[in-house]
């Protein structure tokens, strides 16, 4: 006797199928993703693709306009702007990703924990979050830098801290809804530990809004880094960083050598724009309410 299986055959779609579908449905998001990917490749492979040493002064080539030798021109120290922008992508992405991920994950833990435990833990955590969120991101970051000083690590800390409550607040809202569903009660009555319930049953259900927020955070963090550097409170010369390049060129060379400020400004704007477009598209793709629109 032959057994008849009733299970439908598993159709395995090629990996690029999802990507193509995403590209078809979210052309702007795809454009954003391309910007992000190009920026990431530039940052990761700076040593190989940058035509010049980004910190080497060349007094024979000071404030040269864009040319065949220097595609984006040179700055006041004769440093190649294209090379500095390529290396600057690394600085932006390191600070952007580290701040966003650390701030995001800390916010995720605090948000889910706050929702799950409720009671006085929730009350205290949320009031602390309220206090932190009362300050705009850049003001909070300025305060942190003023206390701890400048430098890459301190800038990361300065941007990470204000991102934590923003993430925690959103994650908590999603987690509050999940806390009430029967399978969480079932897990509790089955005697599962708190970490297991949080990590296996709650966190996976808030990952979608979390990931969307993470992409927005990277863009915000890059912008905050550029703002701090522009104010002279971020990373310091001779580290190639877009905000710092803008600061060095905008005021003194706006009329005599505008390329010094224009290209780093464009790099900042394009990258933040790319993360923003990609984040929006990701939200549309993940959110079931928006998916079929």
């Amino acid at each position: 006797m032959t057994a008849i299986t009733t299970e439908p055959p598993v159709i395995r779609r090629p990996w690029y199928g999802s990507a193509l579908r995403f590209a078809r449905r979210q052309p702007l998001g795809t454009f954003g993703l391309i910007i992000v990917v190009v920026t990431a490749i530039a940052g990761l492979s700076a040593e190989w693709i940058a035509p010049y040493n980004p910190t080497a002064n060349d007094f024979a080539a000071m404030t040269e306009p864009p040319s065949a030798a220097h595609w984006l021109g040179t700055d006041q120290f004769g440093r190649d702007l294209l090379s500095r922008i390529i290396y600057g992508a690394r600085t932006a992405l390191i600070i952007g990703f580290v701040s966003a991920f650390v701030g995001g994950f800390a916010g995720l833990v605090l948000g889910v924990g706050s929702a799950y435990f409720g009671g006085w833990i929730d009350l205290v955590l949320q009031r602390v979050m309220d206090i932190l969120m009362a300050f705009p991101l850049i003001i909070m970051a300025l305060a942190v830098v003023a206390i701890f000083g400048t430098g890459v690590q301190n800038v990361i800390a300065a941007i990470t801290i204000p991102l934590i409550p923003r993430c925690a607040r959103v994650v908590r809202a999603s987690a509050m809804a999940i806390r009430e569903v029967p399978y969480i009660d079932a897990a509790r009555t089955s005697g599962f530990s708190h970490p297991r319930i949080i990590l296996r049953h709650m966190v996976p259900n808030v990952v979608a809004p979390f990931l969307i927020m993470l992409t927005a955070f990277v863009g915000q963090a890059i912008l905050a880094e550029a703002s701090l550097s522009y104010l002279g409170l971020g990373v310091q010369e001779p580290v190639p960083a877009w905000g710092l390049m803008l600061q060095g060129g905008a005021e003194e060379y706006a009329s005599t050598a505008p390329w010094i400020a224009v290209f780093p400004g464009l790099a900042i704007a394009l990258t933040v724009f790319g993360f923003s477009l990609f984040g929006d598209a990701l939200r549309d793709a993940i959110d079931p309410k928006l998916r079929e629109r």
């Binding site: 910190t55 002064n57 007094f59 006041q76 400048t150 002279g232 310091q236 010369e237 001779p238 003194e252």
Partner: protein, 536 residues
């Protein structure tokens, strides 16, 4: 032409050029009237008291209200030796083997409240400046170490008795901060002048809006007859350079009196053409790169020598002068001074060798010997663009050429000074900025902290103090110059206590209708505006 004469000639010609640039065409008669508006590149000064403060923000706002005993010649301020009477009647010849100076005071001077100014006022002010009473601070106390006492035998005479004869006395006496306040008020409340103004200068106080503006009007009773030419002035505080450049571009201000970077000069000249004039001068200010000898490995002279040897000043100075307010390679002494080293003398010291490849090879060898190859350290700097950050960025690139890995830590002014005073840095960019060119006193910056409180190198060195004192007490100019060289070689070459960077370059862009004002080697000098007029 031998080297010293050649350098002296170069210095004189530079001074002459600066003077000629600024001198109104012969036959120009000053016109009376008009209000001069100028920018002060700072926020509000900490106080209005010249005796207490060191900042140009105080001086640029208040100098037009006050008189001083003597001053640099306002018609020849680029000279480092031309001093004239302001309140006195004649520059005195020293007596008692150069240890006594007797000044006769003018009889026609009145304070702005109408009361007469006498020698008693002058003497009391100098007594307070040299020996401030308890609770009163004097920023210039240390400049007057040579003065034993100030006497006032009659209403027209002030006598300065010195502990030892020195050429440093007259330049120190021409300090532009040494305002002559009213004696009665000074004795009643020495701190009154921190918030109030009452002098005898060419302009009378009208109003002060903290951090915004200072206004003055012509003093009709001014003792230099015919002056001032202006009806008044408005000084506007604006810390941001773009604001100041915009103000001059739009003719909302005629100038500023500190200094602008080359990019601002180029921009204004390009846009305004002959509507502006440019005056430039070597500036009695210099950034120093000072290792903290209390920290390893900077206590090792080989490491300090390597830091100096890596920097190519001869190539760096002309390049930096295009983007920053620096210009001239020099030693410890202001380059325009007769006490300054010649190029040949400098080229014998580390950090000045003409062959930079040989210099850097020696630096690498010294680092290897000291076990400091590939040394990583932090260069502390002040959050001021011109020229601090330019100097820092340049030095870091130069050091990278001998394998050093240096990062820059930029601090706002308050924390920067805290770190300097607490010694919490590896190597720092700092500065030595003086007003009247007075090499004998100006070089005291390299003396240990126990002698000169604003030294941050963290070293004590009796030999350095001995060399300095020998030079300070020498009255023969030729011998004094030789002793200055010995001090310089010891501080910059033997011990490398600090590394000189190119001396600053003062660039001023002014509306062409502003006449009579001449540039000097210091942004602290020639600011009472008595001889300034508007050709409108």
């Amino acid at each position: 032409m031998n080297a010293p004469i050649k350098w002296l000639a170069t210095g004189l010609s530079m001074a002459l050029t600066a003077a000629l640039v600024a001198t109104p065409a012969l036959g120009e008669t000053p016109k009376r009237g008009g209000i001069l508006t100028y920018m002060i590149p700072a926020d509000a000064p900490p106080s209005l008291d010249g005796h207490k403060e060191n900042t140009f923000a105080t001086l640029h706002a208040t100098a037009p209200f006050y008189s001083t005993l003597i001053a640099v010649n306002p018609e020849n301020p680029s000279s480092t030796t031309d001093f004239v009477c302001d309140l006195c009647t004649e520059m005195p010849k020293p007596t008692d083997d150069g240890k006594t100076y007797t000044f006769k005071i003018r009889k026609d001077v009145k304070f702005h409240d109408g009361t007469p100014l006498t020698a008693a006022d002058v003497a009391k002010n100098w007594q307070y400046i040299i020996n401030p009473p308890e609770g009163v601070s004097s920023a210039r106390e240390s400049y007057m170490v040579m003065v034993d006492k100030v006497e006032n035998p009659d209403p027209e005479t002030v006598i300065f008795k010195l502990k030892f004869a020195t050429s440093a006395f007259i330049p120190a006496l021409a300090d532009p901060f040494a305002y002559i306040y009213k004696k009665d008020q000074l004795e009643k409340d020495p701190r009154w002048f921190e918030k109030n103004i009452m002098g005898s200068g060419p302009f009378k106080f009208v109003s002060y809006e903290t951090g915004q503006s200072m206004k003055g009007e012509r003093n009709p009773d001014y003792y230099h007859k015919g002056q001032p030419y202006l009806d008044g002035f408005v000084a506007i505080f604006a810390a941001k350079q773009s604001v100041r450049v915009d103000a001059i571009r739009a003719d909302r201000a005629a100038t500023e009196f500190r200094g602008m970077p080359p990019s601002a000069r180029d921009q204004l000249v390009k846009e305004l053409g002959d509507k502006v004039t440019v005056q430039t001068s070597d500036w009695n200010c210099v950034n120093l790169i000072t290792p903290n000898q209390k920290r390893k490995p900077f206590d090792d002279v080989r490491v300090r020598r390597a830091l100096a040897l890596a920097i190519d000043k001869w190539k760096g100075a002309p390049a930096l002068s295009k983007i920053a307010t620096v210009h001239t390679v020099g030693g410890l002494v202001f380059p325009g001074s007769s006490m300054a080293p010649t190029k040949e003398e400098m080229e014998k010291m580390v950090g000045y060798w003409p062959d930079i490849e040989k210099s850097r090879a020696e630096a690498r060898k010294l680092l290897k010997e000291a076990g400091a190859e590939g040394l990583k350290f932090e260069l502390m700097n002040r959050n001021v663009d011109q020229p601090y950050k330019f100097i820092g960025t340049w030095a870091i690139d130069e050091w990278s050429k001998i394998g050093l890995q240096v990062t820059q830590k930029v601090l706002p002014t308050g924390p920067f000074y805290d770190a300097l005073r607490n010694g919490t840095f590896d190597v720092t960019v700092e500065f030595n900025c003086q007003n009247v060119v007075n090499p004998v006193l100006d070089v005291a910056k390299v003396l240990p902290k126990s002698v000169y409180p604003e030294n941050y190198g963290g070293y004590e060195d009796p030999k350095l103090i001995e060399l300095y004192n020998a030079m300070l007490h020498e009255t023969d100019p030729a011998q004094q110059r030789i002793k200055m060289r010995a001090l310089e070689v010891y501080a910059l070459d033997t011990q490398v206590n600090t590394i000189m960077t190119p001396w600053w370059n003062r660039i001023l862009v002014q509306r062409s209708y502003l006449k009579g004002w001449k540039i000097s080697p210091s942004h602290y000098l020639n600011l009472n505006l008595a001889n300034v007029w508007l050709d409108k």
